[in-house]
Subunit: 321 residues, 2 copies
């Protein structure tokens, strides 16, 4: 990188984005026009060393497959679960990855010679979903995965909040007599619509417990039916919280549970509709018309990470050789 | 006003703010340094004509008492309950004032020859509370009155949201088996900590029902004790929603119920503390340290209205004579 000048930097127009999940890394390469020109998926390593290695390998494989020399990559953005210090490029408490504390941006930069930026995965996905969906103004991205959290985008920028907990709607209690949440409270939104909580309440073996719940509910199983209703109810509650607090125009639902597709979307919509039936005020908000589901396999999270990386300023990109 | 020039406008340095409540109007005059140099309170009229008349009378009396000619008033801001179209200066559905639809800014401007700006009362109070409390960054103002609503201030500006419902945390349900809310839903935050809902649940005559509830609770009455706990619980739930969605740094509590003073503040603080006991995540948020109570009789709402009025641009202030 030493001595890289303006001409070199002008050639570094490709932005790479990585969505680092508990099981796989989804990587995309985005060109200067915002088009996705390459995509690569590979398993995530476990533990700090392996996470860094799998991230570096992911960027290298993506570049290789797309026929891009690393020297054309202007930035890499990473969306990763856990608490992220975006300024320092550090991630802590990423329990699903076996990471306690990791200087991720520094370590990956040293390995590849490309500037890295790190962001919480849900916040990065929110930005990607906002841009890919063409939403202007305000939106929230509600991630229904093992856990539940949202990211809020106001006027095209991630709203981080005062202490980084903006959008943590999964841990708002909506039922004092509800199930115990992993966080220690009762009746959190996440106990109703988090994949982990639902699988635990279902309690039967199976690789895809939420799909099993839906299939069993279709077949008339009363527990499955109640859990499916819980999922709809919890997601609807999260949507209400986001609109009645931040008043975002649109709530885009993403995350692993969107593999359920129409069954999920129709159920949440119906729950919002039913919840507003007795309330002229809630009806006036037309919440059922303000949700969208990301298509299964959407690259929104990795694309958002690429946008996060692209926000590295020119000054920061000047190589420190 | 005809022919008023730059010299005249330069002299119009006093900003007036009015907090128009269901029973009284609180009016303040603010000088160019932001100091409150006059304050006047009078009863609010009922119905559209009377509301305009009492607002005009309020400004005239304030100016008179402070020895200020009307010609020195650069703007009047009004905080008023109901749905406000701030651009048009119109208020609709201000049911506590007997107002169905009122072109308030236009009518008051015609009467006094001073530019008016109208804002929802809670949003105006939020701005005033933020400035008077010296809060920078993000804050929410939680108004505990007959009803419950919050205003969110981000970087010194009122966050209005996409459709004007930002901060409507009073109608988030936190208990599916809770009391029926006036809005038609069950277990809304407002059913726990709204003065109207609590007075109704108490059901005994008295001019100050919430104070009666507190006194009866102190004397060991079980219903009163339960309702007092509900108040603490509901206010704590509202604080949690505001921090876990918008992640404001500080929540300032205002509104009529702040007349309860320390009893209210200590109770809400204890409820936040107790609610976090079982949850390391909630404890890490230190919510009990992030609330403040406005002092009883604080002019924050009227002061905020003056700030709203002061945001009228120079172009708008050029007299239309």
């Amino acid at each position: 990188m030493k001595g890289a000048g303006a001409a070199d930097r002008a050639g570094r127009q490709i932005r790479v984005g990585l969505d680092v999940g508990g099981t796989k890394i989804d990587a995309v390469a985005v060109d200067a026009t915002g088009e996705i020109i390459g995509r690569h998926r590979r398993p995530t390593g476990w533990g700090e060393e392996a996470v860094v290695e799998s991230i570096v390998a992911s960027v290298a494989a993506l570049a290789d497959e797309a026929g891009l020399p690393i020297s054309r990559i202007g930035s890499v953005g990473i969306g990763i679960p856990g608490l992220v210090d975006a300024e320092a490029g550090r991630v802590v408490h990423a329990v699903n990855l076996g990471v306690e504390s990791l200087d991720l941006a520094d370590r990956a930069e040293r390995a590849l010679g490309v500037p890295f930026r790190v962001e919480n995965d849900v916040k990065a996905a929110a930005l990607g979903a906002a841009v890919l969906s063409g939403v202007t103004g305000s939106m929230a991205y509600l991630n229904l995965g093992t856990g539940v959290a949202a990211g809020i985008v106001l006027d095209g920028r991630i709203w981080r909040g005062a202490r980084g907990t903006a959008g943590e709607v999964g841990h708002i209690s909506v039922d004092p007599h509800g199930r115990l949440c992993g966080c220690g409270q009762r009746g959190c939104v996440e106990t109703f619509c988090g994949g982990g909580a639902l699988a635990k309440a279902w309690g039967r073996p199976g690789a895809l417990p939420i799909r099993d719940i839906f299939d069993a509910a279709d077949a008339g199983d009363p527990l499955a039916s109640a859990l499916r209703d819980d999922l709809y109810h919890g997601a609807a509650a999260a949507v209400r919280v986001l609109v009645l607090s931040a008043d975002v125009e649109t709530v885009i639902i993403g995350g692993g549970l969107t593999a359920l597709g129409d069954r999920l979307e129709n159920g949440v919509r119906a729950a919002l509709h039913a919840g507003a039936e007795a309330s002229p005020f809630m009806r006036s908000l037309r919440l059922d018309e303000r949700i969208e589901l990301l298509p299964a396999g959407s690259p929104a999270a990795a694309f958002g990470a690429a946008l996060v990386g692209a926000s590295i300023t020119e000054k920061e990109i000047v190589p420190h050789g």
